[in-house]
Amino acid sequence: MSEHTRQLDSGRPRDLPMARSMCWHCQSEMTGEYFCGRCVKVQPLSKELDYFTCLNLPRKLNLDEQALEETFYALSRNFHPDYYATKDEGEKAISLGNTALLNTAYRTLKDPVQRAEYLIRLEAGSAKDIRTSPPADLFDEILELQEDLEEFRSLSAGESVERRQELLEKLQAERQALETRKAHMEERLREQFSRWDALPGEAEGAAAAQAQKDAVLTGMQEILSNRTYVKNIVNDLVAATSPAGDTERNIWH
């Protein structure tokens, strides 16, 4: 028996949806294991698997980071392409597919912002379906700042030293203020995480529970949207005002 099969046997019992109910290789019946009990071939994970389920975590936002790491490494040991270098093409492809899904799931859940965005997509179909009111004041502020930024960029280092210095100081102050604001938004996002995690389960009063869920999801989406605007302008400010500065602007983002 190969090493990774033993690993699995000693691990905690798991019950992930697999892509097929039959072993792709020997056609014997499967009940959700990673390896066929008869021919010991690795089996493909279902593409429909959501990332929380994939990493054996509840659909919560303040997640147990240690459990996330541990499960990720344990599963990686089952599927990593290095273990399949000498296997046939079918097994190699499955190892690659499972590992890719696992890596994406891990990366997404590890980052709090991506985790929240992913949860909103899962729960609300698409984050775009949640309409949040556009932050008009923020837009005005961004447009104004961008105009100062344009002017600053257009002044080459040699000329208009005074105006350049004046703008630089203003932009640096704005950058600090915006970074503080972004940190504040991230705090508020964390509060929404706790609200989400404290929501009662599905069983009690479906309609009321859904309304509560929607309220938290909308609240999170609003913070996330505004954070994206602030993050963009902060990045622009950093790129323009940092000493290294004058980095080529990227039109491909």
Binding site: P134, D140, L143, Q146, L224, S225, T228, N232, I251, H253
Partner: protein
């Protein structure tokens, strides 16, 4: 992925970049943003006798967002307010040959047009000189 030549042309030579004073007579201003990418777009129209005589934009975002709004201002000029309201993002996608991941940029431009038209109509109402206000969008 490469941008179409038309996108690059609008990016390098944006048409009608700039702005009008918001409170100027006949000016409608639309400011919209795309929460997915953080782009912000400002589009303004200047209307005389129900016809858009001038349009300007300022967009901070990717090449496709700039090209979409630049193209939108070109199309807006000479159109009546009603005609302008019928510009669809799909026409922008077609003209600029936008790839699927950049379709939201064209949606942003359509939203900006609608917002500018609404702002223009709203201003007309409060000044009590609105002729027939078109059905709300």
């Amino acid at each position: 992925m490469a941008y179409s030549e038309k996108v690059i042309d609008h990016y390098n030579n944006p048409r009608n970049m700039g702005s009008f004073k918001k409170d100027e007579d006949g000016v409608g201003t639309g400011i919209v943003g795309a929460p997915e990418c953080g782009d912000v777009m400002k589009l303004q129209i200047k209307v005389e006798k129900d016809t858009i005589v001038d349009a300007k934009f300022k967009t901070f975002g990717c090449g496709s967002a700039i090209a979409s709004s630049s193209l939108a201002t070109e199309w807006l000029k000479g159109k009546t307010v009603d005609e302008a309201g019928r510009i669809k993002n799909t026409e922008i996608v077609q003209e600029l040959n936008l790839p699927p991941v950049k379709i939201h940029c064209s949606v942003l431009a359509e939203d900006a047009i609608k917002a500018a038209l609404n702002d223009y109509k709203k201003k007309g109402e409060t000044e009590g000189q609105a002729e027939e206000v078109a059905t709300p969008v």
